[in-house]
Symmetry: C2
Subunit: 411 residues, 2 copies
Amino acid sequence: MDAEIIAVGSELLTPQRLDTNSLFLTDKLNALGIEVRFKTVVGDDRERLASVLRAALGRSGLIVLTGGLGPTEDDVNRDVVAEVLARPLREVPEIRQQLEKRFARVGRTMSANNLRQALVPEGADWLENKNGTAPGLWIEQGETLIVLLPGPPWELEAMFESACLPRLAQRATGGRIVTRVLKVVGLPESEVDRRIAPIYREYRNPATTILATLGSIEIHLRARAASDAEAEALLAPLADKIEVALGDNIYSTKGESLEEIVGMFLMMKQKTMAAAESCTGGLLAERLTRTPGSSNYFLGGAICYSNELKTKLAGVPEVLIKENGAVSKPVAQAMAEGIRRRSGASIGIGVTGIAGPGGGSAEKPVGLVFIALADEHGTQVREFRFPGNRERVRLWASTAALEMIRRRVRD
Amino acid sequence: MDAEIIAVGSELLTPQRLDTNSLFLTDKLNALGIEVRFKTVVGDDRERLASVLRAALGRSGLIVLTGGLGPTEDDVNRDVVAEVLARPLREVPEIRQQLEKRFARVGRTMSANNLRQALVPEGADWLENKNGTAPGLWIEQGETLIVLLPGPPWELEAMFESACLPRLAQRATGGRIVTRVLKVVGLPESEVDRRIAPIYREYRNPATTILATLGSIEIHLRARAASDAEAEALLAPLADKIEVALGDNIYSTKGESLEEIVGMFLMMKQKTMAAAESCTGGLLAERLTRTPGSSNYFLGGAICYSNELKTKLAGVPEVLIKENGAVSKPVAQAMAEGIRRRSGASIGIGVTGIAGPGGGSAEKPVGLVFIALADEHGTQVREFRFPGNRERVRLWASTAALEMIRRRVRD
């Protein structure tokens, strides 16, 4: 059974919005072995939606429509589906009662428009919406299954998980698709591909995709088999070979972020850390503290944008800044050692650099960043030249700092 | 002339990837008065792409295909378009020479596959690719215009701007669409809608969309007219009424972020600031330092995750933490006053709270945040209860702090 997703809503055809529900749906459908072959976005327009739906009926075993189930005139999905399938709409008393109760509970009166949500095409099942007013619809039309879901993600996701997944699992006979994600740090995308292309090209199943996001590279391996266990068995040899080829540049195989991995290592080794940041402006600390429980290993830090604060908060001697400039190896080192001393952390990090777009020179160009790591064994300082704009330089610098911590704590 | 966009690529049908090129294209097409009526994503599959293309030919004046122009067997756009339009492919010597030169320049030999990129359907124009090897295609088929663009955004965007926009501008006779964005802070989405729905409902043109992103609400007004000036004239009265209804909760009408606006106010009033953050973990500083030149007004700050660092970096008396707890009004105040004193900034900010998911209690639940602002007039402390998860609490807290600065500096 192949699926297609039709997202309905004129706002999804503006330059500001994307249909992101289809990512959730694709993920869940793939796990059941169902491939998504088409995704269409169409506005709240009867005629256009009808033409898209007719095309879908001719080619897909499962059609999921999202959005367009609200109470307003703009919400045409229910009507169009009823018309195209030639199934008249009938009011379902149970839905009407639920709607009335819901409105009574919040002390509002229900408008006549809301009653549209109690209409169901003849012979269709309706799906309860625990997080909103619009029920979903489940329609079997010959060999084709048509599912209508509400647009708001929290409504759609809850309804799909509770009402659709169990029923789909029974019908899906195409096996299972299992995905494994290997996350890589410290190598450019081209180098990752150079090393692993000869390996993954040998395999059609699993299929391999390399995704470069800002600051990290992900390798997605996707295997299809009769069961999860068989799919895992297909994944294992390819994953193993890739892990050998990339070695310890792979930091995660279970979806963890780099900051989570660093946190896990710090916890395991019972270490704490603190950071003094200049050009990253708090981004390193912000990333580390995204993880719940990070207060167990992250004590805090100083953001020393001004030279004066480099001295006052991180204890960098004024003369060092005067002699070497704020963006220099000695200052990075002094920041790391200073914040370590002040905070009492096992590890101190110092980051100073030029994020741009201004402030660069021939000698010290935009993208130049020094990162220092101080611990009981001494202080290591590395010099980086990151390409790209301010946002990229800051992100790469924070990633490089996390990677230095990961390697130091692990070893 | 209505447009539709067909994004081709099997990776766009996985749970990890979205077609984002269509946002860029929609924005540019809208400005020319061209509406996008359908967006389709289809895999690298000859038969499926052909069926999508045939449907498009029957309904759209402009069809933009993206992706699928590479040198590999997977890239089928060129072939499928030639076949569906019944225009045989012919090699264009000029493209071949450009390809050969390009490969010679980087010292690589060109594979036979690459020659596929020199093939052009009979009667079609080709579009130079300044950032890659795959040329685009421009095909006039009766009243319909079909444009093929490469998938990588930097190739697509450069090609569209230089080769497509000027030609499209000549053909587009549907007038212009101009969008104005009003950004709102300090009000929930429901309250924004309650206040302005009676206003914008009076207008069909401009059309109004309310977008709630994390931490900010945007009101998009979109007017269509014969010229930009006429569209602006349509926008002005509606924008004015909305600005009256929302007053100073509107912080930006020209696209600036809240942190940019705060920076502009600080520069204008020649003020500086510093921040001591606990639960936001550096996010406030990180947001402020995203703006180039922020070192002119942002001196730095302390991230005091541990109580000890609240004392050491922000000068919070130990006894204050012992008596009131780290998440309390007096500690927020002491953080703001302490970091102001240490940094010598005109304004000091203190943020302490419980971001969750752990650490909450009946008395001090997850989402409780105290934010203090200290300046020469004294210290203001506000208590907030933010809903949602860790990420949302941190984001709302940093937004609330920025909003406190905006109001204080402006007045």
